[in-house]
Symmetry: C3
Subunit: 278 residues, 3 copies
């Protein structure tokens, strides 16, 4: 499969838990531009909570398919760097990934399978596509950045390593049916303090939601957007990721409710309406 | 008007209150590069305080005219996303803007009017320049990023929507004349803890300043730069934005004075010198 | 010397203590692109602790030589802006720097001297390579960004100013020999809370390390990587910068030990093994 962009440019994104104070993401850009200085690079984030593979997978999944076909997504949340976990390249439809085989691919892979995209996975075991000296502690610099750069400049993915049949995937917290509707949890808290839950708009008809319970409070129904209500109102809505979210109009729901990832969220459905989408 | 850069490159800047941990600014870059992967993109900031339109306007105004003519500035501080406020494109002289019509344009517009630049404003009401699916909650991704990309790749601004006569503008806190000089306030606190006030170097002759009073302390006269004095000295000076600022040499004035935006600042002028510039 | 990249592209990196909330690094990109909009720009970091020249030099040294030959590194940690300290351009081998002559160059220069690279230094005293209006307070925008852009677009370094013989350098904290091995200190704490010490892998044989003492605890020997051990284990290892570092497996050593830069670190060598590398 050809993965050149239509205008010949080459795109890489970076997603890590490295933070931005120590220069590590910049070093990865230096390695990439040392291989091909025409590659365009966008930061997705470097603020995945340290070693939190699940949050890394959520943010990667939220982002990757807004980039054009052929983009290469380098994702490094890698508590097992230098141990037995494998460095991996993956293709999901027209999207490419370079990342540790530790479950980071889970949510993009789930999306690919739902959409019937072709998938392939390779163990990055060809040192000619790495830096000459490989440390035990910074494969983002020594293996993932150079492998991603070679992929973006046109090396076919199957030359980067040996085929893997099934990558490692995470067990995800699943929303469950209850007598009154659904039980899910807070998966993530965003920059605005919005509580992002594990319940997808695919699982519920927004019109059928009667109440949402979280952290001891009840919120009536869903609103359309963050500004629907008076400043300070607690609201529930479907967010830009198509997930049920809890927000405060012009405020911070996580602070207001002292809520955090893992907190239970109950959705009470209107009994007179269909409980589940076809 | 043609807005191509002299060498054919295309530039976009991003200014938001999205923060950088959740991937939202990266997603906007993906949307832009999906339309034209040759566009260069610079982040101005993603750390405008949440929903603070005034600070957004101050930082946008500080930055935009250091970019070359023809650059497109996408600014999204948008508490009213999905409500009646209009998405807007604007031209101020040779500078282009894509942003909500909620007052964000206020300070760049004031600069344009002071300089006699031509201005024009459009309601972004042409869905063919948006993403196909538009959410109620993330117009940065769904409307502003694609509209900005089309503008940067050469679509004339008047094709993006219907002409607006007057955009929404904010009431700005104004410095006032007092018997002894000027009364203003802290508008913003920068990363170094410098207190940026509402008084401009255009309003005062720096040589005429006898004392500056803030948070119960008095500072004698103005110094030339941040390093003028001993480490720990509290000083007043004209900053890089041509505003009166209060700083601590090698230190943090906001922490030292427990000062914050809105705090009153009094400037006492030397009675023997002219009080106001012509 | 020619410093064009092999494919004709031009690269600049930025390292500052400006933070990212106020728009200052974005303004520098605007100035650079106003001179040549084809220059690629990477942020190394804008989170050097305010006015901390030593940390700036450490991060600059960790990063610069991962960028291709001919890259221009603009570094601005500049407590003396607008005072007598000189703005400077430097060449170390095939790497270019634009920065204040205040000691920021110290560690890259030490690396250049160790490797026998040619070096040259110039006082940026040619206003034609600056912005037209130069403030006393933001030379990053007014002098360093435009000088770096001219260098990256091909102006020979010796046209930017007058030759300087020796740049200012910092006194660095040196690791010392002790009866039992080495005494050094914590130089920096990274985003993960790892404690980076002043002892280099060039100074010790990793196999010879028997114990590391810091903050009242003793750590046996060195491990290979951050994941070598159980979650929560305190470990010592050689980091990606070839320095002795102290980490907690999947955790934060600085928080665990309440450790900070300047804290003493003692290394006890195995008496039966060679104490020092040739």
């Amino acid at each position: 499969m050809s993965f050149s962009l239509r205008n010949g440019l080459k795109l890489i994104t970076l997603l890590t838990d490295f933070g931005i104070k120590d220069g590590y993401p910049g070093i990865m850009k230096g390695v990439i531009w040392g291989i091909d200085a025409q590659i365009q690079i966008a930061d997705i984030t470097h603020h995945i909570p340290a070693q939190n593979i699940l949050t890394g997978s959520i943010v990667l999944n939220r982002s990757f398919d807004y980039f054009p076909a052929g983009s290469v997504h380098i994702a490094v949340v890698d508590p097992g760097v230098g141990t037995q976990r494998m460095p991996m390249a993956a293709r999901l439809g027209e999207h490419f990934f370079v990342l540790p085989d530790n479950g980071l691919i889970t949510l993009p892979l789930q999306k690919a399978l739902e959409r019937g995209w072709p998938t392939e996975f390779y163990h990055l075991d060809q040192p000619k596509y790495w830096l000459t000296a490989v440390s035990n502690v910074f494969h983002g610099r020594d293996i993932f950045a150079p492998s991603g750069a070679h992929l973006a400049r046109g090396v076919p993915i199957n030359e980067l390593g040996t085929r893997i049949e099934r990558p490692v995937t995470l067990e995800l917290p699943q929303a469950e049916r209850t007598a009154e509707g659904w039980r899910t949890q807070v998966l993530d808290v965003d920059h605005f303090g919005n509580l992002i839950t594990g319940l997808s708009a695919k699982q519920i008809d927004p019109l059928s939601v009667q109440r949402v319970r979280v952290a001891g409070v009840e919120i009536p129904g869903l609103v359309k957007t963050f500004g629907s209500g008076k400043a300070g109102d607690l609201v529930a809505l479907i967010d830009s990721d198509n997930r049920l979210s809890i927000a405060v109009v012009n405020g911070n729901a996580a602070e207001r409710l002292a809520a955090q990832p893992g907190d239970q969220v109950d959705v009470v459905l209107n009994p007179g309406l269909p409980k589940e989408r076809a």
